[in-house]
């Protein structure tokens, strides 16, 4: 019997290391007939810490919310007594568990090993068929056929733009050079997206194997992984995995004696969102300021240090070994006519089950939110879904039946993006959301081209005005005009997509903008400068709001209804925050 503890970043944040420690202590104290292992992210971030029990006969049980104090009972009843604890059970191979429907609609290709193997142990990856795909392509020794099969699989870049992976490989392969590079783009900068982190933390070898296969296909001898510094766990596990693969002869010189050599190096990013753009990323590896340049020349002809370079995203590369082993047709069997395979989404926001889901392309947004993720928190209503982070847009609830594929999502004005899916309910103000994203892109703009540098700044100023109740006549038209200028004239896709959150919210939630501008009201009650607070008859006279009010706008005696002076109120909202009586302070 084997007990696995989910030790991804989410799990650790939820205290899983303490759970692991508690299990380790129990194991040391008793002659345990079970082994203890770490694993990555199973995907159910909302129920961390998660512990999985593997029986030798193949039965599997996943438990959620296993804090250290629950370890004793889990060991006594399940491990010793053989009686699974139904109350804590999330999923079991025998069909029990509260979260069966969470998995029922998922198809796990990229996440195939996540949460099931120990990412720090190479043998675990080998035991599930790891590095067999690399061996297979080396034995077949036909890179041209390999490229063709990746084209046939229909795999498209999972970093967001959706360009055919096989075609990218072909372009890089066609160029003659004595030196080529593969770069794995692990600079997952979109706020709200964490699937690449999870794959790197949970199954790093699958990415390394994908890189080596890509290297073989295009004729590269070196690979770089450019990973965010904000992901210490991913960096740690990648370093370990590279060392293990090199020691085992799965990376390095003359792999499997077939004359193919491939070295992988890890580069730690230094905190610049724009480095997710491929030319900026390469500039950063070269040790320069991470600023994009004009394409063409594309990296396929002139990339890193001017050598032909193929840049693929983490999720794209994690798909590769599976496609090689199962064939292009098996992969293309999932998805729609133009979008094949599966996509991993990082689900967050006002949703009951936040975490990672992997679904076949073509499934509707509604199905992902309601059937897999259990719908909206606290019984509230779905208002919009934000897809694609700062480059994407907000899709309104009316369009929730849109199928998830590159073309359909693009038609709504959003983009597939890297896979962050943030769910919003009626308490979310769409003007505030647009302002949030513009604030982000404006700060992250590298400043090289004028439209992005100044355009995003002006747009942010307009949005900030609106949120502060200082909107001027013509602001919405100005915003639209600026958005189109920035979108069409920026040098790279940071600026080219930065207006998307504004354009989509203007398109679908224009009345909200108009309320901010004309009536100076925020319908979602989020923008505090636009709110009016009033004390109702429910006030019990507890004095809390009087103490909290820094403007001295509230007066009154203990146990008597307090009075709020609108003329003095600065609309900071502190009174509502400290008030313990529902409805005692009304907000409009």
């Amino acid at each position: 019997m084997r007990i696995l503890v989910g030790l991804g970043t989410c799990g650790i944040a939820a205290g899983a290391e303490n759970t692991y420690q508690a299990l380790a202590e129990r194991k040391a104290s008793a002659a345990a007939a079970w082994s203890l292992a770490k694993t990555g992210c199973i995907g159910m971030c909302y129920r961390e810490p998660i512990v999985e029990i593997h029986h030798d006969d193949g039965r599997r049980y996943q438990y959620g919310g296993v804090t250290p104090d629950k370890v004793g009972r889990l060991l006594d009843e399940h491990v010793q007594g053989g009686r699974p604890i139904e109350d804590w059970l999330l999923w079991a191979s025998d069909g029990r568990g509260s979260e069966q429907d969470y998995y029922a609609h998922q198809t796990r290709i990229v996440l195939r090993n996540c949460g099931h193997i120990d990412p720090e142990v190479l043998e675990d990856y080998l035991a599930v068929g790891g590095y067999q795909a690399l061996r297979k392509v080396l034995e077949e020794d036909d890179p041209e056929a390999l490229v063709t099969s990746i084209i046939d699989s229909g795999l498209r870049g999972r970093g967001g733009a959706g360009f055919s992976t096989g075609m990218k490989w072909r372009f890089t392969r066609m160029v003659k050079a004595d030196h080529k590079y593969v770069i794995c783009n692990a600079d997952e900068g979109d706020p709200g997206a964490f699937m690449d982190r999870s794959v790197l933390e949970s199954d790093p070898h699958s990415v390394l194997e994908g890189m080596a296969i890509a290297g073989f296909a295009i004729g590269a001898d070196t690979g770089y992984i450019y990973c965010r510094a904000e992901y210490p766990k991913a960096l740690e596990r990648l370093t370990l995995a590279i060392g293990q693969a090199e020691a085992a002869g799965l990376l390095g010189e003359n792999i499997h004696g077939k004359g193919f050599s491939f070295t992988v190096r890890l580069k730690e990013g230094a905190g610049a969102f724009v480095c997710g753009e491929e030319t900026a990323l390469m500039a950063s590896i070269e040790g320069k300021r991470g600023m994009p340049r004009v394409r063409p020349p594309f990296p396929a002809t002139r990339g890193l240090w001017d050598f032909p370079t193929c840049i693929n995203n983490v999720e794209t590369l994690a798909n590769i070994p599976w496609i090689v082993m199962h064939g292009a047709a098996a992969y293309a069997a999932f998805g729609t006519a133009k979008s094949k395979g599966t996509k991993v989404f990082a689900m967050a926001g006002k949703i009951k089950r936040g975490g990672l889901v992997e679904v076949p392309m073509g499934i509707s947004i509604r199905k992902v939110i309601f059937d897999i993720c259990g719908g909206i928190k606290e019984g509230k209503k779905l208002k919009a879904v934000q897809m694609g982070g700062p480059s994407g847009g907000c899709i309104p609830a009316e369009l929730a039946d849109t199928p998830i594929d590159y073309e359909s999502i693009t038609r709504t004005g959003a983009i597939m993006g890297s896979g962050g899916l943030v769910v919003m309910d009626e308490t979310t103000c769409m003007v505030d959301v647009a302002r949030f994203f513009l604030d982000f892109t404006q700060r992250e703009s590298c400043g090289k081209c004028t439209f992005c540098r100044i355009g995003t700044k002006r747009m942010l100023e307009v949005l900030t005005r609106l949120c502060e109740g200082k909107g001027r006549e013509g602001d919405l038209e100005l915003l639209e005009q600026l958005a189109l200028l920035v979108k069409n004239n920026s040098l790279c896709q940071l600026g080219g997509t930065a207006p998307n959150p504004v354009l989509t919210t203007l398109k679908y939630f224009r009345s909200e903008y108009e309320a901010h501008l004309g009536n100076k009201k925020c319908p979602a009650h989020k923008c505090t400068p636009l709110l009016t607070f009033a004390i109702t008859d429910l006030c019990v006279g507890c004095l809390l709001c009087i103490k909290a009010c820094s403007a001295g706008a509230i007066t009154g005696e203990r146990k008597q209804k307090h009075v709020l002076d609108q003329a003095k109120c600065t609309r900071c909202g502190q009174c509502v925050k400290v008030c313990n009586v529902d409805g005692a302070i009304s907000v409009d």
């Binding site: 944040a13 290391e17 709200g192 510094a229 190096r265 230094a270």
Partner: protein
């Protein structure tokens, strides 16, 4: 943070000195908490890259700092999920509690407050990271309690996790 130097050193004749710059800066910051002028000058002497270019790189990336940091580094996540869950309130509460603004360090050098674009644990929103420990599902009222733990521990690291 990581041992990334070997390959860069081996190939410096090929790629020039510039390729080493970011790892060298990262190493320097790791050692001293921030980039001192002395260190930057040493890197200039070692690599031959002009100081102006080094400074250009150091100021471009959010990771690098040119002034010292407090004993405890607080990073408030302002990702989308955290924003929707009230990250602004958390930042405000910490600012109020420590009487500093984001980007500043307390006079006793115990805390530095920063924001970060996304820590990638969105399902625990709102999240803050103090040193390497993540605290999730926070409310602005809990902030004081969390900070107190660190203040009492001084330079030490209290039990991580929330």
């Amino acid at each position: 943070m990581m041992q990334l130097q070997r390959y860069d050193l081996e190939h410096q004749h090929f790629f020039g000195q510039e390729g080493r710059l970011i790892p060298l800066l990262q190493q320097a910051q790791q050692a001293e908490g921030y980039l001192t002028r002395e260190r930057l000058l040493a890197i200039q002497r070692e690599t031959g890259v002009p100081l102006a270019s080094i400074y250009g790189v150091a100021t471009f990336y959010a990771q690098f700092r040119l002034s010292p940091v407090g004993k405890n580094l607080i990073r408030v996540c302002h990702g989308t999920a955290c924003h929707v869950a009230g990250a602004n309130d958390i930042s405000e509460a910490i600012e109020k509690n420590l009487k500093i603004r984001t980007g500043e360090t307390t006079p006793d050098r115990l805390f530095t407050l920063e924001t970060v674009a996304c820590l990638g644990c969105c399902s625990l929103a709102p999240v803050i990271m103090i040193n390497n420990a993540t605290h999730g599902n926070l409310t602005d009222r809990q902030v004081g309690r969390v900070l107190k733990k660190y203040a009492q521990a001084g330079a030490g690291k209290p039990e991580g996790g929330a």
